[in-house]
Each structure stands twice: as C-alpha cells, then as structure tokens.
Symmetry: C2
Subunit: 248 residues, 2 copies
Amino acid sequence: MPTRYKMKIAYDGTRYAGWQVQPRHRTIQGEIELLLTRMTGQRKHVRVESSGRTDAGVHAHGQVAHFDLPGRIDPAYFRRGLNAQLDPDIRILTLEEVEPSFHARFSAVGKEYRYFIYNGKILPPTKRLYRLHEIRPLDIGAMRSAAELLAGEHDFAPFSANPNREIDGTVRTIHAFQVRKHGSEIELEVQGNGFLYKMVRSLSGFLVRVGRGELDPGAAVDILEHGKRTAVVPTAAPQGLFLWKVFY
Amino acid sequence: MPTRYKMKIAYDGTRYAGWQVQPRHRTIQGEIELLLTRMTGQRKHVRVESSGRTDAGVHAHGQVAHFDLPGRIDPAYFRRGLNAQLDPDIRILTLEEVEPSFHARFSAVGKEYRYFIYNGKILPPTKRLYRLHEIRPLDIGAMRSAAELLAGEHDFAPFSANPNREIDGTVRTIHAFQVRKHGSEIELEVQGNGFLYKMVRSLSGFLVRVGRGELDPGAAVDILEHGKRTAVVPTAAPQGLFLWKVFY
C-alpha cells in the first residue's frame, strides 16, 4: 500500500509553459516530478496530480497536489530537501501525509483565484510580471455591479475558452466575486465550486471592458443568456492571475 | 546653448550589470543613452548623468538623471516615446526641462534608500528578486537601537566597501534610519546627505547581524570608533536594495 502525500505549492509562472508536463518545455509539474523521482530513487516516474492545470505565465499562491510513494518519508525534512533543489520560483509551502482517498482534483470542493490589475499610467518595473496593466481609469462601481451579476449558479459557457472541451458540463457556481481597489492596485477575488478553461481570465477581461465603459454591467446578464462565447468577452493576460487557494 | 532635461527613472535591476555603462554588459545607463541617441538622431552620443551609480541587481524606485539636447523636445510625448521602446523593466516616470545649472549628482542634497528583508521560513516566489531572505527571526527592537546609534554625522569608513576610493572623504550624515515590520516583511529606510560605496548594503548587513543576536546594538559605536572596515560588517545582497528618492 503506497503512502499518499499532499503538498501546497507557490510558484512564479513567468519562466514556465504552465503547470502540466509537456515535451520539450519547462513546466511546474515536470520540475517537481523529476525532482521527486530522483529524491526518492524510484525506478518508476513519480506522478504528481494537482487540483488543476494553470496556463503559461499564470502564478500560484496556493496550488495543491498529491503524489504516492511506496515508503514513508519525514514530511518536514523532505519538504526542505525539495525546496533546496527546486529553483526559487517554485516553493513547496507545506507537505503532509494524507489518507489514500485524498485526491488533489476530485476531493477539491472549490477554489479561489485572484486577478491583479495595475490601473495607473506607468507600470512599476518590479510589478510587470504580476499585473495586467490598464492605463485608462477603470470604473470600480460598474465592475462591482457586473461581478455581482456573475455571482451565483450559471452556465458559464460564454466565459470558457473552449466550452466544447468541458467534460463536466459548463454550469458552475461563483460563491463570491469581490472587486477591491487600493490606490492604483485593483484586485479581483473570485471563489467558486469550479472554473472552466480560462474562465477567470475571461471574467477578468469582461470586467475590465465594463470598467472602461465599453460595456454596461448588465451585459453580464445578456452574455450569460446568449449562452455562447463571443468576441465581446476577451481573455485577460495570464500574468495578472494567481491560483490563490484550493478548498477541500 | 543646449537644453537640459531631468528625468526620474524606476528600474528592476535584475537583468542589468548595474547603472553605469560597461563594455559588453547590459546596463541601465547604456540602454537609456543608446535610445536617447537614436530617438534624437544625434551624431554625438547623448550622455546621461545620474545621481549616482547603483550596483548589479540593485533596483530603483526613483533614480534621477539629466541629459542635454541641442534642441527642444516635448517632454510628455518624448517620455512616452522612450517608455514605448525601453524594456518594461526600465520606466521613465517623469521628464522635464530644467535650468542648465541643474546637475543630477552635484545638485542632490540627499538620498533615500530602502532595503527589504523577508523574515519568514519560505520566500514567496514572486518576491525572490526583491528581498533579502532571512529565515531566523530578527529582533526588531535591537535593530532599531542599532539604527538610532548609526543616525547622525559620523565617519562611515567602516561601512564603505572601498573607503580609500571615496574622493569626498568618508564623513556623512544619516538624517533618519527607520526599521519597520509588517508580518514577515521588514523594511529599512535610510535618508542621508550622501552614501559611500555599498554603504546601505553594509549598514543593512550589520543590522541583520544585530537582529540575529550575533552582535549587540552597541557594536555600532565600537565599529564607528574603530574607524576601519572589518569582517564584522557584511555587505547584504543587492536584490533587497532600492534607491528610493533623490532630494534636491
């Protein structure tokens, strides 16, 4: 009976082609799996299953993943050993033994994403890899109204980058959708029971258009009723997005 | 009579071999001078003089520099034209015409630097290029006491990386030296009428040793009295340092 381990991971997605293993590309999953396989001296490649993939350039504040080992390791020592050998743009925040029934993806009951916008004339150099830059002043009130209309259970197909690929259908529930502003910084925080492909970037792209005054907040209702993805909804740039938390 | 322009510059020093032009290295000054020369179509290379050099890996929130042009340009349009062609890790924040007597270095009456420390177990990936990472809990009270002892007019030769190279002597005045803590973030803010070579990194390295309990705050007095650089004072890593503001 193998032992299952759960880990919480933070990463800066800038230098990676996303979470998922791909041939001839550096990926977060690829880096961690290679190191785990070497650290534990396994003949068989150690597979790491996450709560879900993140795209190229997207960051994580609290991604969760699990993996199995034939024996037992000491989680605290093992975690430090992993961090010592990973590049500093990937950090294992916590590592613990869990029940074999735990599954990073199937056991998750919800997720929180945050999308960061710098709404000022000049994007500070040290923020350039972690913000969407929007020069035009955004109407926060209008963005909040649109976010409220998007909260709740809806068919979010118009906010999926590939609705036909969604194997679990396209109905999801957004439990909370907050829009916060501190100075030039705008933070979108969205919690839900699941998210479609590029859904948070599509919701963010839509809110930015509302904030610019190109669309009324009420367009959220029209788009949901229309039911299909259209060019009205853009996909916001990846570097503003952080997978913030996974709920179990 | 040429026209003199003053600019305020922010940069992320990560990818550069510091401010000053060097053969076969990318530098901030080199990037800006090349672009200015091309933008203005000058036969003669346009020289940019800053308030002072910053070392490789050091960042700037508000570096100041000046340059001369034979004719006049519109500062607002010209600034946007520069930013459009510079890499986003260098930003011209302001640009204005000034009196020909203004000199970025000689007119400066003081400077503010900030040094950022992440004092927690695991350095967040997105902060790795902008913080010194210190795992051991630092004693902020002791660091504040040491900072107070360092404020004022002193011969700071023991905090210069090369005291014999200092052409204006080694006596400087620190007007204010603050130590702030918010959660795991520690910020050292130092204002003075001038700083010796690697002085802020040396002061920061010393304060970290005090914070760790390796040295008493009173060691500041002994070191200043001793008058010579010793191994007791380390030079803290460049990536924690920001040239924050230049006073005129």
